[in-house]
Symmetry: D2
Subunit: 348 residues, 4 copies
C-alpha cells in the first residue's frame, strides 16, 4: 500500500520540487498539496514542468482534512510559520517532515539569537530528529517529527563529518565559503532575485558570522567530534538557479597523505549511496548534482599550510530540501533510501 | 527479457544523453557504448552526471561484436559517418536507429545539394523509416532502420503537422524562426561554442535557406499536405545549453477562431502523450521541456494579418535526438512509447 | 556652456542608464534626477555601477524647480504617467525627450486600442517629433518634444527602412520575430522576471498581433513607403539582461542579388554612424552592441522563397531607450550625434 | 604628443581588451597589434565589438619594426612566451608592460617550482617592477619593464594590503577563496571552456596550494608586512564571462570594531581612485566592476571567530589585466592614472 503523503506549502520552490519528486515516486500517493496563494490552480499552471504530468490542483490548507487522510505530511513553509502548524499535525497523529528551520535547533534560546523569533512550540524541539540521513538513520527510522536539514548545512556537514569524527582537524579554526543558486532565496519576487540583479553577477550576504545556518552546522558537527566546533561561514549568491557549492578549510592536527584522507572519507561513506567521494585530483562540478539527491565531495590537502580542503556540491532543492525530505520519508517507511530518487543529472 | 542495446558514438552529447536515458530505462540492458576518443574511460569520467550511477566504460567500436550481442543499435555519429557504419549493422541483422541525417532524405541527390556529400549507402534510403513517432507509428513498428529526425525538424513538423494536414494554411508562404541551445553545435570545442562567445549573446547562422534541415522539414510536411510545402528557415544560437524554440508563421486559407485552431491541434494529438497543446493565451516556456521528451505547442491567430502562429518547444537532445530515439525503440519493441521517458523537467 | 539636463524617473532601468551615459557626456551637467521610491538615496546605492563615479542623490519630483533650472528634461516614466508630466514641462518652456510610449502615436484613438488608456494630452501628439534619429534628423533638430522610439520599433524600423523606402518588398506580408532581454520588462520585481523564471528559459508573450509597439512600427514604416505597411510581430523573452534581436522576413517584389541588397542598405545608412550593415555572410551578435548605441544589421536573401531577411541587433536600454534619447539631445543641441555615445561593447 | 603604443599578442582576450581600451584613450596612438593566428584580419572580424570603431588589422610580429616605431609595448603573450620577446624589446629601447607571469617573481627558482619552466631572461627579473599601481606608484613611474600583476593576485593583494601592512592580522593563517569568470581561461577553445561545460556550473581547479599565482601573492604581501605571509588559495570557475571575486579570511591579532577596520582600509586607499571600500554591511557585486578598472572591497569582522573577512571584486580582464596595464602606462607617462579608464560598468 502506498504512503499517503501531503504537502503543506506546495507552491514555493521546495514545495514544487516535492511535487515533482513525489509524482515520480513509485510508493507514494499524493493526497493534497496546499497553497494559500494558488489554491484552485493546477500544479501545472504554476509549475510548467508538470504540464502533461498531472492535472491536480492546489488546495487551501485544512489541517483536519489533511491529518485525517495522510500518513505523512511535508511542511514546506517559511521559517516561523511551521511551528504554528506542525504541533497540530503531530497531535492529530501525523508523522511530519518539516523543511523549515523551526525544529532543527535543540535550544529555544538559539532561535532568539539566530532566527530572531520566540519559539512557540519549544516542547517539540527535543522530540524532533535532525534529518541528515547519512548520519542519523537510526533515529530517523522511528521519528514522528523530522527536522529536514538546511541546504548549506547539508553540504557542509557532509563535507566535514568524516574529518571531525575521525579527529583529523582542529575543531575551532574552520572556514566555510559557500555559494548558492538563486532558488535558495525563494520564489517570492524581490529586487535581489530579479534576473538582471543576478545574471553575470556574484554577491555576498550575511557576512561575518550572522547566518542562521551557523548554529545548525556547529551543533551537528560538535555532536560528531570530541570538541566543540566553531566555524566562519560566508554565503555567496551565484548566477545559477540551483545548487550549493561549499569549499571548507580546516587545519590538520597531523599531516596526512591525500590518498589516506580520501580513504578515510570513502570508508566513512561506504554505505551512503548519495555521497560520492571523488578521485584524487577531481573536484565537484555543480552541474553534475543538479536535479539529484547526490552530494559530491572533492578532497585536497594543502601541505604548505597544513590544511584539509573539502569541496562539497549538492542541489539546494533536492539533497538540500525536497530530495532529502523524501529520503527521510523512505527511511521512516522502511523503503530503500533511494526509492524515487535515483535519476542522474543532465549533462550537458 | 530486456532489449540488448548498444550505442555507437556514445561520448558526443547525443550519445551521452542516450546513456543517461537508457541507464534509467526498465526494459533495456546496455551492451556497449563506443567512443573513439574515450575508449577505456569510464562513462562517468566524461559525463560527471553519471558518477555514482554506473561504472561502465567506453569501448572501441567493433561492429562484429556489437552486432553479435545487440538486438538494437543506436548510431550517434556525425553526418556522413553513419552511412559507413549502418549498412554493416543492417547486414548483420541488427535493427538500427540512426540519429545522424544520413538516412532522413529519400533522394540521394538531395544529399549533394544540402549536405555536400555523395551518399554511400543510397539503397538504404528507401528502406529507412523517418522516425517522427507521432506521425509514423505504424511504419516505425516494423522498421529495421529508423532515421531519427533532426532537432529543428522535430519541433517544426510537430508544430505544423495539424495545420498542413487539415489544410488550414497556405503551403508555400511559411516562415520558421528557430532558436537552439549550444549543445546543438556538438561537444567538440570550437571558438563559436566557447562560453565567452555564447554567454549573453544571440547569433544567427546559415541564414537564407541553406540549412540542411530544410528539405527534411519540407519533405515530411509535404507528405501530410495537398500541396508541396516550402518554407524560410532561420536558425539562431541561444545562450542556453539545451532546447529548440521555434516560432512558425503560416498564412491562413480562411479565418479561424483561436479556440477552433486549438481544438484542431488537440484533436490531432489526442493520442500523443508527448505533445501538449497549451491553453489559449499560454505559450511554451523552453525550460518546461528541458530534459524531457515533451513538445509543448502554443497556438495563436493574428487576425489582422490572417496568420496562424505556432510556437513549439522541445529539448534538442531528448525529443530532438536521444529521447525520440528511445521512443522509437519503444515503439519498435511493442512497449508503451513513454517507457523510461516520463520524467518531468526541473522547475526552477 | 554645458546642457543642463534633468531626468524624471531616474531609478528605473532606463533612468539609471541615462545617468550612466549622462555622467560620461562631456557637454552635459546633470541638474536633477527624480525617483519617487528612492528620493534621498545615492544614485550609487541603487545602481552599484556608479559607486566611485558620483555622489549625487535622487530627489522627489518638483516640476517647477526642474523646469526652472533645466534646459532639457528626459522623462523616463511608465506609459500613461508621462502624459501627466510632459505638458507641464513643455508649458514651462523646457524641451522634453519622453522615453515612454505616450507621444509616439499621432492618433489618440490608437492609444485606446493599443495602450488601453484615454490620452490626456492629445494636443501634444501632433507637436511631438518621433525621435528615430537616423530617419528624422531635420525635425528632431527643431523639436521641443521628442517621442523617443520604443526598443522593438527601433530595431525593426532600422531593419526595414531601406527595404520599404526603396520599394524592394511587399508592404503587407512582413513577419517580425523579436527577442528581448529581461531588462525590457523593467526593474520592478515580478515572478516573470525572477532569475529562476528566466534563466535557461525562453518564452513568448503578447503573441498574435497585440503588442503596443505594432502601430508604432507600422506608422513609421508606412511613412517611408508607397503603401501601408502591416506586419505580424512576436516578442520573445531571452535569458540575457539586455538586448533586442529582431529577425524580419519580407517578400521581395523582384529578385535581388545579395550584394545589391547590401549595397542598398549601405547607401541608405552611409551617413549614419550608429548603423552598421554587416558584410555578406555575417550576421549580428547581440553581445557586440550591448552597452552601445549601435544597431548591427545582417542581410540575407532567400532565393528559394523570394524573401529578404534582415537581422537587427540593438541594446534595448541604449539605442532602444537612453542612448537614442541622448543622441536626440545631441541633435537638438547641434552637437555631433555621437558625443558621449562612442564607447564600444565588451567582448568577451 | 600621443603615446605610440603597440600590442604584441593582440587577439587573445587580454590583447583584445587592450585594443578596446586603447582605442578610447585620448593620449594614445596605436601603432600596431600583432596576432600570429589572425594577421591580416581586421580587429573587428575577430572582435565584433569593434565593428564601426576601427578598420585596423592585425599584423605579424616584427620586433624591429615595432620597437622602432613604438614608445611603449604591451606584451600579452602566454606565460613562457613573453620572456622570449621582452628582452629584445628592452634592448631596442622600448618600455614594456608585460601582462604574462614571466617577470612577476624575483627568483628564477620559483619559476621552476610554480610555472614548471626554466627562465630564459632571469637577468630582467630584478629590473622589472611589479605593477600593482596602488602600491608601487613610485617605482612604476621610472620603470622600463613593468610586470603587470595577475588577476587573482590583484584582487587578493588589494584586499589584504591594508590588513597586513597595518599589522591587523596573523600573516600565516590566511585563507583565500576566489572565483573567476571563464575568460580567465583564455580564448583558445577547449572542452573546459565549452558553453555547455560552464553554463549553470561551478567547478574548482588547482586546489591544494598549487596555483602559480600563490608565490606572487605571498611575495607582494610579505613585502608589506612584518612577517612572511603564507596563504591557502582555491580558485573556482564561475558561469560568467568576466570577473574575479575573492573572499579572504584572516585571523585578527586583536579584536577590532568593524567601523575601525573600514576606516583603516579607507585611510590606506584614500588616494586610490580605483579602490572603493564599501560601507558597513555592503559587499561587492561582481557586476558593478565588470568592464571597469575598479576594485570594490567589502569588509566584515566575524567576532565569534576572531576573523577579518575581506571581499574583493575586480574585472579580470581590466583591473586584472589590460586596464591595470593602461593604468601603469598612464603612471609611466606622467598622466592622471585614470585617463581613458573612467567609464562605469553596465547595470543592469
Amino acid at each position: 500500500m502506498k504512503i499517503k503523503a501531503s504537502v503543506i506549502g506546495g507552491s514555493g520552490y521546495t514545495g514544487a520540487e516535492l511535487l515533482r519528486l513525489l509524482l515520480g515516486h513509485p510508493e507514494v500517493e499524493i493526497i493534497a498539496a496546499t497553497s494559500e496563494r494558488y489554491a484552485g490552480k493546477l500544479f501545472s499552471e504554476i509549475n510548467p514542468n508538470l504540464i502533461g504530468i498531472t492535472v491536480s490542483s492546489y488546495e487551501k490548507m485544512d489541517l483536519n482534512k489533511i491529518a485525517g487522510s495522510s500518513d505523512l505530511v511535508f511542511t514546506a513553509l517559511p521559517h516561523g510559520r511551521s511551528m504554528e502548524v506542525v504541533p497540530q499535525l503531530i497531535e492529530k497523529g501525523c508523522r511530519v517532515i518539516d523543511i523549515s528551520g523551526d525544529f532543527r535547533l535543540k535550544n529555544k534560546e538559539a532561535y532568539k539569537d539566530w532566527y530572531r523569533f520566540e519559539h512557540k512550540a519549544a516542547d517539540l524541539l527535543q522530540k524532533s530528529v535532525y534529518g541528515l540521513c547519512e548520519l542519523n538513520t537510526k533515529d530517523i527510522k522511528k521519528a514522528s517529527l523530522v527536522a529536514n536539514p538546511g541546504c548549506y548545512p547539508t553540504s557542509v556537514i557532509l563535507g566535514l563529518a568524516p574529518a571531525v569524527s575521525r579527529g583529523l582537524v582542529f575543531e575551532q579554526d574552520i572556514v566555510v565559503d559557500s555559494m548558492s543558486g538563486v532558488s535558495g532565496a525563494g520564489r517570492t519576487a524581490a529586487e535581489i532575485t530579479h534576473f538582471c540583479s543576478c545574471a553575470d553577477n556574484v554577491s555576498s550576504y550575511k557576512v561575518g558570522g550572522v547566518h542562521q545556518h551557523i548554529p545548525e552546522m556547529e551543533y551537528a558537527l560538535s555532536d560528531l567530534s570530541e570538541d566543540t566546533v566553531t566555524l566562519s561561514f560566508t554565503p555567496h549568491l551565484l548566477p545559477v538557479s540551483r545548487g550549493i557549492y561549499s569549499t571548507v578549510y580546516a587545519d590538520l592536527k597531523n599531516d596526512i597523505a591525500l590518498d589516506e584522507a580520501i580513504d578515510t572519507y570513502r570508508s566513512f561513506y561506504k554505505d551512503s549511496f548519495f555521497v560520492e567521494v571523488l578521485r584524487e585530483g577531481e573536484y565537484p562540478q555543480l552541474k553534475a548534482v543538479i536535479g539529484t539527491n547526490f552530494c559530491h565531495l572533492g578532497i585536497s590537502v594543502d601541505l604548505r599550510c597544513g590544511r584539509l580542503i573539502i569541496i562539497s556540491a549538492i542541489d539546494n532543492l533536492v539533497k538540500g530540501a525536497a530530495g532529502q525530505a523524501i529520503q527521510n520519508m523512505n527511511i521512516m517507511n522502511g523503503l530503500d533510501e533511494k526509492t524515487g530518487l535515483d535519476s542522474p543529472a543532465l549533462y550537458p
